[in-house]
């Protein structure tokens, strides 16, 4: 029915120090991943993932979601504003949401269709700053349960292509 078990666990959340390679504010544009899929990426909305309105129990993946699994998709959403931004990934939602992890933990205001946007492997230790406003992102869609942080299970992931984001610069 749904994607298989992915026991992968992301790196332990640590609030990044400002040491190491200097993390400057850089405007980095997303490059179209030219080396990837031949066909144009499918354009999906959050409302395409699960049958809406949600039924009495869990989420029911739609045919569109199942067909898009493992494929390049384009998705427009809002980056969740977190108290403690995590390295290597950020959360994307159909509405702007902020989190107060210290006070609320997993009693959060996130919708069930929240997508975890995963940075390319080479950038897993970097932290993306919160960007307001709707973002259009492209990546490979993955559906299935992964415990992305202790106690937090993600069902949808968007894997950004290597080279989609430029590396953090160590320039002064």
């Amino acid at each position: 029915m749904c994607g298989g078990q992915h026991p992968a666990m992301f790196s332990q959340p640590t609030f990044p120090g400002l040491t190491g390679p200097a993390l400057l504010s850089l405007a980095l544009s997303l490059a179209a991943p030219a080396s990837h899929a031949q066909q144009a990426p499918a354009s999906l909305a959050f409302s395409d993932f699960f049958v809406q309105p949600i039924g009495p129990r869990g989420l029911q993946p739609t045919a569109r979601l199942l067909a898009a699994q493992g494929r390049e998709v384009q998705l427009v959403g809002f980056m969740v504003q977190r108290e403690h931004a995590q390295p290597g990934h950020f959360l994307l939602t159909p509405r702007p949401v902020s989190m107060a992890e210290h006070a609320d933990g997993e009693a959060d205001d996130l919708p069930a269709s929240t997508v975890t946007v995963v940075l390319p492997a080479a950038q897993r230790s970097a932290v993306v700053a919160h960007t307001a406003g709707p973002l259009q992102l492209q990546g490979r869609l993955e559906f299935g349960p992964v415990e992305v942080e202790p106690g937090r299970v993600s069902w949808l992931r968007l894997h950004l292509a290597p080279g989609a984001l430029a590396n953090p610069s160590s320039a002064p």
Binding site: L24, I54, V76, H102, L110, V128, P145
Partner: protein
């Protein structure tokens, strides 16, 4: 012997004897007698017969073991199994493997007054260590009136005096008089409550709740337990909850209603014992598995993600947030034996909704289900996957306004949950079920997102959540007025954000939007904020559903924040998703690496930066006292400046022995009927 050799020998002997004694490093229940040697203030207090655990952490000398331990209360050995374990594994960092933890589960004392207790431990080399602590048993007083059958605790999370006042202001004032007081304003008595936790002047929702329903201070993030030195979150020394005590001694039932995820600290802090308020899987399991201890008959709110088996999309169940007690290790086996608690299981694949249904509960997933529920049966309602949507967004969903999502839908539609009940509707159904409880009930109703939206400094959303909460207060008050045997209290766990009602806008909403376009302090503060008499009386028009037609009124109420993080302020209601029809989507958005330029944070227009006094992104809780209002038989007992733990004893007095004060200032036993 040469002098230097004699000195070396003496030094060696001195060094050896100075370190050679086992040491008690923690004694539970906590006491100043143990911590500082002072008998007062007494920290731990219990009702006659209220159960709690005794525990001690005993450090052994190098190369030694603790071989035995026993506890005495008032000089008499406690006749119950002492579970003795070491710290070869499972203890907090810094404790040697031979550190021992000795525990006796579920003891109680009946005699009123001060009790001294001690632990005596034996080390393998024959040395003995003794440590002393104390606790009080608070006696019941002779009643001057009837017992109450039911207790309703309405808790506005983060709701201090400012939040209450703001909600009343929205209902309108004329020449200084409130047009329509809040339901909570009409309660007979009000006290000021001190909210400090066991380990801080600034509490959080876990000890903020459990103080009221256990009579004891807990550490931040911990609920229904005292702190310990193991990493297991579910093995901590327990304190019997009001629900457990009244269920055990009187057969009362328990209802828990919240707009938050039901595993959250305020709802869980009425029934679940854990030192980790985030252990969601274990917490919801314990709601169900220990319902024969608490009398749980109604559980409603969000948090469906914890109740779905791990393979079902949307589930958050995981081993990392679950627990299972060892049946062979006395340290946890005695919890099962002495408390009658379930042992738990690592069972993320469990279908907990099905379990509730098999146990006879009705399950409601929507308001439609809730309205149809058979109130002769216990009730489980899970209306969202985590927290429910806030009042403003639920109301807009019902009105069909603010359909400004990316796909033209409302917030609740974007969440896939268009049919969520309001808190007053949930309270009505909870009371319909609990009213049938033959021996009465304890019901806790939480307006959870007053706090959550205050953290976000989203003025309009916490104001409307406070109005929604007051409507639930009204439902409870009407129930109590009709029944005559129900005590209702409205309170808060703490205040959140240091909300300050600074004045009113001196401009219309249209002008405010234009000033945001002009940007900056001169335009958004100096030209807008009306203080003193310039504040006047903001006028919100209430729609037929009782909520403001809009929160973006001319000459609106302005709220500042004393416990604020950095934010941009333009004073206007955050219309998620802030999509401006004129602004195209960014197709190739610049993503920035942390740290971001502060200028780019936040969604408010106008660049009026209010620098925060706290670091980070969210406003925080404050240490300020909060108001508590009481209605019903014995309400006048709730006056004065009281400790949050005092409330527990007052509630128990009313239910177990009978009230000790009149219902209102006229001296009446019956509460005055509210004027509607």
């Amino acid at each position: 012997m040469k002098p230097h050799l004699i000195l070396s020998l003496m030094a060696a002997v001195a060094a050896g004897t100075a370190a050679a004694a086992p040491q008690v490093t923690r004694l539970t229940p906590p006491s100043e007698l143990f911590s500082s040697g002072r008998a007062d203030p007494v920290i731990a207090r219990f009702l006659p017969g209220q159960r709690f655990d005794l525990q001690a952490t005993i450090k052994a000398d190098a190369g030694q073991k603790i071989t035995a331990a026993r506890f005495l209360v008032d000089g008499k050995p406690v006749a119950a199994t002492v579970a003795l374990r070491d710290c070869a594994g499972g203890c907090v960092k810094g404790l040697g493997a031979e550190t021992a933890i000795a525990t006796v589960r579920a003891v109680s004392a009946d005699a009123a007054g001060r009790h001294e207790f001690q632990v005596e431990a034996m080390q393998s080399d024959g040395q003995r260590v003794v440590a002393r602590g104390n606790f009080d048993v608070v006696p019941f007083a002779a009643a001057m009136g009837p017992k109450v059958k039911n207790i309703i605790i309405l808790l506005g999370d983060g709701m201090g005096a400012s939040q209450r006042t703001a909600a009343r202001l929205v209902q309108g004032y004329a020449q200084g008089k409130a047009l329509q007081p809040l339901a909570m304003d009409s309660f007979s008595a009000t006290a000021l409550v001190k909210t400090a936790s066991l380990n801080s002047i600034v509490t959080d929702s876990a000890p903020g709740m459990t103080a009221y329903v256990s009579g004891n201070k807990n550490n931040n993030n911990e609920e229904g337990v005292f702190p310990d030195d193991t990493v297991d979150a579910f093995d901590n020394p327990r304190i019997e909850y009001l629900s457990e005590y009244l269920h055990r001694t009187q057969g009362k039932q328990l209802g828990i209603v919240t707009t938050a995820d039901v595993f959250d600290a305020t709802p869980a802090g009425n029934a679940v014992h854990t030192s980790n308020r985030g252990a969601g899987t274990g917490i919801v399991d314990q709601f169900f598995d220990d319902r024969s201890r608490t009398g749980l008959a109604v559980l409603m709110g969000g948090g469906r993600k914890w109740f779905l088996p791990a393979g079902t999309p949307g589930s958050a169940r995981a081993d990392s947030t679950d627990y299972a007690f060892s049946a062979t290790d006395a340290h946890t086996a005695e919890i099962v034996k002495r408390w009658g608690a379930a042992p738990g299981a690592m069972d993320k694949g469990r279908d907990l909704i099905a379990a509730f249904q098999s146990a006879g509960f009705t399950y409601a997933a929507t308001k439609t289900d809730l309205d149809r529920a058979d109130t002769a049966k216990p009730l489980l309602g899970l209306f969202a996957f985590s927290n429910m949507n806030v009042a403003l967004d639920k109301i807009n969903g019902r009105r069909g306004t603010d359909r400004n999502g990316l796909g033209g839908a409302s917030v609740v539609e974007d969440f896939g949950l268009p049919d969520q009940p309001m808190l007053d509707e949930m309270t009505t159904q909870a009371l319909a079920v609990l009213k049938r409880a033959p021996k009465g009930f304890v019901l806790m109703v939480e307006g959870a997102s007053i706090d959550k939206q205050a953290h976000a400094m989203d003025t309009e959303r916490w104001m409307l959540d406070t109005l929604e909460f007051d409507r639930a207060v009204r439902v409870a008050q009407d129930f109590a007025a009709e029944q005559g045997d129900t005590l209702v209290i409205v309170t808060a766990d703490h205040e959140c954000s240091g909300a300050a009602l600074i004045g009113g806008a001196t401009v219309t909403d249209k002008a405010l939007a234009e000033l945001a376009g002009k940007k900056g302090v001169a335009n958004l503060r100096n030209s807008v904020v009306g203080v003193y008499e310039k504040a006047g009386f903001p006028r919100y028009r209430l729609a037929a559903d009782g909520y403001p037609e809009t929160t973006d009124i001319d000459y609106r109420l302005l709220v500042g924040y004393g416990a604020n993080a950095d934010r941009y302020e333009d004073w206007r209601t955050k219309k998620t998703p802030q999509r401006d029809g004129q602004q195209p989507f960014a197709t190739q958005p610049p993503l920035k690496w942390y740290p971001a330029n502060a200028q780019e944070r936040d969604d408010a227009l106008g660049e009026f930066l209010v620098t925060g006094q706290v670091p980070g992104e969210q406003a925080v809780h404050t240490a300020t006292d909060v108001p508590l209002s009481a209605y019903g038989p014995g309400a006048l007992a709730f006056t004065g400046v009281i400790d949050n733990t005092d409330v527990f004893f007052k509630l128990a007095q009313a239910a177990v022995k009978g009230v000790v004060a009149p219902a209102d200032t006229s001296g009446s036993r019956k509460p005055p009927k509210p004027r509607r």
